[in-house]
């Protein structure tokens, strides 16, 4: 035994810490995009991806340029953006308020949690005809659909986040005689902010999905209308151009939330 210990070489202890701490690696995401698009381009050019399966990325780009030059891009984009902004703002605001109330008041919780659970699994798109009857075929029904769709995930994320706020901090606030309103504003809301923001990421993605759904019904202009039209003509270039716009929109919104997170949640690290 002692012989063995003398003879064996010292072995450096194997490093097994690290990981589980994502860092900002800015360019990796872009690289993945570039590689995928290059594969598509090479594949369609050389012919092992048939033109019927995928459009050439360069053709999609050309379509995009055409859209831009004819001014149609903004004609489609602006109504979509305003629908998204109004609908998501209403849904998220009402959702955060309702979530905070559910988190704070037992009666609101008892009353609303089952309701939210009942609403959540309904595909909101299925309700579009109903919204059209209620709010008319104009903008209002589109706002309502997007707002309704963002509302449910926001509520669920918010009340979960409020539930997770450290109760000992709330007791501390009470023990220093802070008013109820101060406790909510200075302890509950900041404490719930991480959960609310990550809920918002999901809600906004759902808002984009519903935007397209809403515009597929009775909209002259809008990204959704544009995609629908391209789809019914099997015009893959235009279809993809529309889809790329939606993806870009998603990436931009997610970046904005990331920026807000860095500003508001710098204390976490």
């Amino acid at each position: 035994m002692s012989d063995a210990t003398i003879k064996t070489q010292p072995i450096e202890v194997r490093f097994r810490g690290g990981g589980f701490a994502p860092k900002a690696r800015r360019w990796v995401g872009l690289a993945v995009f570039v590689v995928l698009v290059s594969i598509m381009e090479i594949g369609t050019r050389s012919g092992w991806i048939s033109a019927l399966t995928l459009p050439k990325p360069s053709d999609v780009l050309a379509t995009f340029k055409e859209l831009w030059e004819s001014g149609l891009l903004f004609k489609h984009l602006l109504p979509s953006l305003s629908r998204l902004a109004v609908g998501a703002a209403i849904g998220a605001t009402v959702g955060v308020c309702a979530g905070v109330m559910i988190g704070l008041f037992s009666y609101v919780r008892a009353g609303l949690v089952p309701l939210v659970a009942a609403i959540f699994p309904i595909p909101k798109i299925a309700l579009l005809p109903l919204f059209v009857i209620w709010f008319g075929i104009d903008e209002a029904s589109k706002y309502a659909l997007i707002a309704f769709g963002t509302f449910t995930p926001t509520v669920v994320a918010t009340y979960g986040a409020v539930d997770n706020v450290d109760r000992s901090l709330i007791r501390m606030g009470q023990s220093f005689g802070l008013s109820w309103f101060s406790i909510v504003r200075k302890i509950v809301l900041p404490g719930a902010m991480p959960g609310i923001l990550s809920g918002l990421r999901i809600s906004l993605a759902i808002a984009i999905i519903l935007l397209v759904a809403a515009e597929m019904l009775g909209a002259e202009y809008g990204i959704g209308a544009y995609i629908l039209e391209a789809g019914s003509l099997y015009d893959l270039e235009r279809l993809f151009a529309g889809v790329v716009i939606l993806s870009l929109l998603g990436v931009i919104l997610s970046t904005v939330i990331g920026f807000i997170e860095r500003r508001l949640l710098g204390w976490r690290e």
């Binding site: 000992s168 901090l169 220093f176 008013s179 200075k186 302890i187 900041p190 949640l265």
Partner: protein, 255 residues
């Protein structure tokens, strides 16, 4: 302002936690509560501070709080309870804002309490950047900022290592000597109790009753580590506690 505990009993559901506690916490004195784990010390402190209501008996304030006192009964928690998103300065201003103290008036109070707890250089640090001992000093500074009539301290040093604990005990003694404060101080550490307590209430195992009240007349600043007289009192307390703790353990085994 004195605090009087008048025949306090408390139960959670069917379990009786405290039974018939009567005791005075006189102005300018530190009263320590020691007792085996689970005997209801934290519960008693929550009752004194009005965070919970006693099933029976009353907590009385005798006299009025001193001038300028913003929050007569103020806690120092074992887990510090600092808001992680606020700086040291922000954590203290939190408890002043609701009393309408803002701007220069708040800054004056904050720099005073930070100086008293030797934290002046850390005004802009976030809690995660501080060590445990510093966090607890912030919590003590925050408590001092509201000029409490009585400080309610629930094992304030238990989360700290023993060296930091020694140092913070010295700090507390220095704070008290400069300006005597009233405190109800819960601990399971008998060395802390004999070092800081003018009066030590020993509680029995659950349901907690007052077993004995030990008075220590020696001034706080003369009590040093390893003083024979204090050792004797500490041993006496330990003998009492050991039997209770053992009995409490055996009860747990029989459950």
């Amino acid at each position: 302002m004195d605090i009087r505990l008048d025949a306090i009993s408390h139960s959670y559901g069917g379990t009786e936690v405290l039974r018939d506690i009567s005791l005075d916490i006189p102005t300018g004195k530190i009263v320590c509560f020691v007792g085996p784990s689970g005997c209801g010390k934290s519960t008693l402190l929550r009752l004194i501070g009005g965070l919970e209501r006693a099933t029976k008996g009353r907590v009385l304030q005798l006299g009025t709080p001193p001038m300028g006192c913003l929050n007569p009964l103020t806690y120092v928690f074992q887990d510090f309870a600092l808001l992680p998103w606020r700086t040291v300065h922000g954590n203290i201003s939190l408890v002043l804002e609701d009393h309408g103290i803002k701007g220069a008036a708040a800054d004056a109070i904050i720099s005073d309490v930070l100086a008293r707890t030797k934290l002046s250089d850390f005004s802009n640090a976030l809690p995660r950047q501080l060590s445990g001992g510093m966090k607890q000093r912030v919590a003590i500074a925050r408590a001092l900022a509201v000029k409490p009539a009585v400080m309610l301290m629930d094992e304030p040093l238990s989360a700290l290592d023993s060296q930091t604990r020694e140092l913070l005990m010295d700090d507390l003694v220095a704070l008290w000597t400069r300006q005597p404060f009233t405190a109800a101080y819960v601990t399971h550490n008998l060395a802390e109790a004999v070092r800081l307590g003018h009066r030590i209430a020993v509680l029995s195992r659950r349901p907690g009753e007052i077993h004995e009240v030990v008075e220590i007349d020696m001034p706080l600043e003369e009590r040093s580590h390893g003083n024979p007289e204090l050792e004797k009192i500490q041993k006496h307390l330990w003998d009492m506690m050991r039997d209770e703790a053992r009995a409490a353990d055996e009860e747990l085994l029989n459950v």
